[in-house]
């Protein structure tokens, strides 16, 4: 009896945690590449930022490819994002989100058909 309760409460607690994190994630999931770039990159890379200003049209497509495949993890794994709960950038941004950000950056790179900032 006692044991079943315990298990039940663990299950419920687990469900609550999942549901809560689901809530936080639902917003990110709905965002498109542009919104994600603004929310998760521009926070640290706006105009006059000490980290350098980066919008999609700062770099050419080759440079973005290289950044996402070679340097992103190295240069961001130890960077703490105070705007998102003080977690590491690479933990805040899920692989799924990163894929969307990457596509947006490449589609609107300086040498694309439609260079853009993230607004």
């Amino acid at each position: 009896m006692h044991r079943t309760w315990k298990i039940a409460s663990i299950v419920v607690a687990g469900m609550v945690v999942i549901a809560l994190s689901g809530l936080a994630n639902a917003r990110d999931k709905k965002m498109d590449g542009q919104a994600l770039f603004k929310e998760h990159c521009k926070v640290c890379h706006g105009a006059d930022s000490d980290n350098g200003e980066y919008t999609p049209m700062t770099l050419i497509q080759d440079q973005w490819e290289e950044f996402f495949s070679d340097t992103y993890v190295d240069t961001h794994k130890d960077v703490v994002d105070t705007a998102h709960g003080g977690k590491k950038v690479t933990e805040v941004i899920t692989p799924e989100m990163l894929e969307k950000i990457k596509k947006f950056a490449i589609d609107h790179a300086a040498d694309s058909e439609h260079p853009m900032t993230c607004g």
Binding site: M57, T58, I60, Q63, A110, D111
Partner: protein, 471 residues
């Protein structure tokens, strides 16, 4: 036999296996270390820069041998006034910013292949370095407007802070592709397809339904396959661009090296071509993707919440049916700045009128976009006036915008002016549809058909007359 088959299979497999993203290679990959502006190109291309300096594209004027009354004159945007963005000189370069911080205008030099100074008469070193070769010759190139250290303005590559990126882009050199020519031509008149109606961004990558010539999945022709020039002169100004820098090269669909005069092998169609030009039947509609500006009333400004600026009132239309007009290759009323305007019997100022008539054997019926505007005209002298459009977009004060521009172009302060309607004919030569969509007999030969027979000088539909005669 079998070995042959295997060999073939292996070869095919090998071909298929070549990487899908094979990199395009460019001849200029190793020609220079760093791109440092036009001077990088000048190291090897002084000769071409000289020819480019004299071109219509750089000077925005050229000998106007097709324009009635312009013998010996050079005409172009620089010294004409049109009823789209008026005249570029008082609006050449600079940011116009609304109180909300929105940039609503950057100047007409946005479509000039220079870095920002008005083209001069003398070929100086400064002119050489002002030319922007990359806008017509580099894939992936884009420029933006930036403030100079002296407080002026200039066009610079958006990659100016990223030398590695800039070096990469500036080496991607080739003869101009559609994309490069359309950087300017698809947005003339102030926005996507506003002006021409038949030159759209879509043509960078369109299908055969959209344009049989330029379709990526079809003939994939480049602009310069038809507009094949030399020494930076480009032929084919059409009916409403005054300058014609290659008068000896008249590009038309029925030239011998294109379709010839009897392309159908069907007598009824081939006899039509003597009086009805190809475009009349083969461009059934234009503005297939982006709506084109059909009416622009500069006298009625309104504030657009959506655009966050003051705008002229305008009508835009898609899938527009062309009007047919007689044209013999000459054009009148090209509206040189500082000349009194002439009006037609409806009181409209005539802008770029195709010359021709039914009784002139050299004329044929061509497809045109008929455009209307309302323009400011100097009360006493009847000159068309320019507008400093950026001032109007920001403040909504049209009188101020007209007076500032008039003072700069004509040196006249506090000009008194009236508003007058205009009518403007622009030839259509692009967005040719597949033959299956060409006009059929009844599109023209029927009541309520496309042709205004009386307006074109006929007593009535000649086909109908034939029937009536035989009955």
């Amino acid at each position: 036999m079998r070995t042959k088959q295997i060999l073939l299979a292996v070869t095919v497999a090998g071909l298929l296996a070549t990487p899908a993203v094979a990199r395009k290679t460019y001849s200029h990959q190793k020609y220079f270390e760093h791109y440092e502006g036009t001077k990088t190109c000048l190291k090897c291309h002084k000769k071409q820069a000289r020819t480019f300096f004299h071109s219509q594209h750089y000077q925005w004027k050229a000998e106007a041998s097709n324009v009635v009354g312009a013998e010996g004159k050079k005409l172009g945007k620089i010294n004409q006034i049109n009823d789209y963005c008026t005249n570029p000189v008082p609006m050449w370069i600079g940011e116009y910013v609304t109180p909300e911080g929105k940039v609503v205008e950057e100047g007409c030099s946005k479509c000039h292949p220079g870095n920002g100074t008005l083209p001069g008469e003398e070929l100086t070193d400064a002119e050489m370095e002002n030319m922007d070769c990359l806008i017509c010759h580099a894939s992936g190139y884009r420029r933006g407007l930036y403030e100079t250290e002296e407080g002026g303005w200039e066009w610079k590559p958006i990659l100016w802070k990223n030398q590695v990126g800039l070096d990469s882009v500036s080496r991607r050199i080739s003869l101009p592709t559609r994309t490069m020519c359309l950087r300017c031509h698809a947005a003339s008149g102030g926005g996507a397809n506003f002006k021409r109606g038949d030159l759209e961004y879509k043509q960078t990558d369109c299908d055969t339904d959209f344009d049989v010539h330029m379709a990526s999945d079809g003939n994939d022709m480049q602009c310069i396959d038809c507009h094949a020039g030399e020494d930076h002169r480009i032929p084919g100004p059409g009916a409403d661009i005054a300058g014609n820098e290659m008068p000896d090269r008249n590009i038309k669909c029925d030239n011998d090296d294109c379709h010839g005069t009897e392309p159908h092998g069907q007598a009824i169609l081939d006899t039509h071509t003597k009086r009805v030009f190809c475009t009349a039947c083969h461009i059934p509609v234009f503005a297939k993707e982006n709506p084109t500006n059909m009416v622009r009333d500069w006298s009625k400004g309104i504030y657009s919440e959506e655009k966050g600026k003051h705008v002229y009132t305008a009508t835009f239309e898609k899938e527009v049916k062309p009007v047919l007009r007689w044209w013999n290759g000459k054009t009148s009323h090209m509206q040189e700045a500082g000349k009194p305007v002439a009006t037609n019997d409806r009181g409209e100022i005539m802008m770029a009128v195709p010359v021709g008539s039914k009784d002139d054997p050299g004329s044929r019926l061509f497809a045109f976009k008929e455009y209307h505007a309302v323009m400011p005209v100097l009360t006493e002298k009847r000159w068309l006036l320019p507008i400093r459009t950026g001032v109007f977009y920001v403040s909504g004060d049209m009188t101020d915008a007209v007076r500032q521009a008039t003072s700069e172009l004509y040196g006249l302060d506090n000009a008194e002016f009236d508003w007058m309607p205009t009518v403007h004919y622009m030839g259509l030569f692009h967005e040719v549809s597949p033959a299956s969509q060409a006009l059929g007999c009844l599109d023209c030969h029927s009541d309520g058909g496309r042709i205004d027979w009386a307006g074109l000088g006929y007593e009535g539909d000649p086909l109908l007359a034939l029937f009536q005669k035989s009955h």
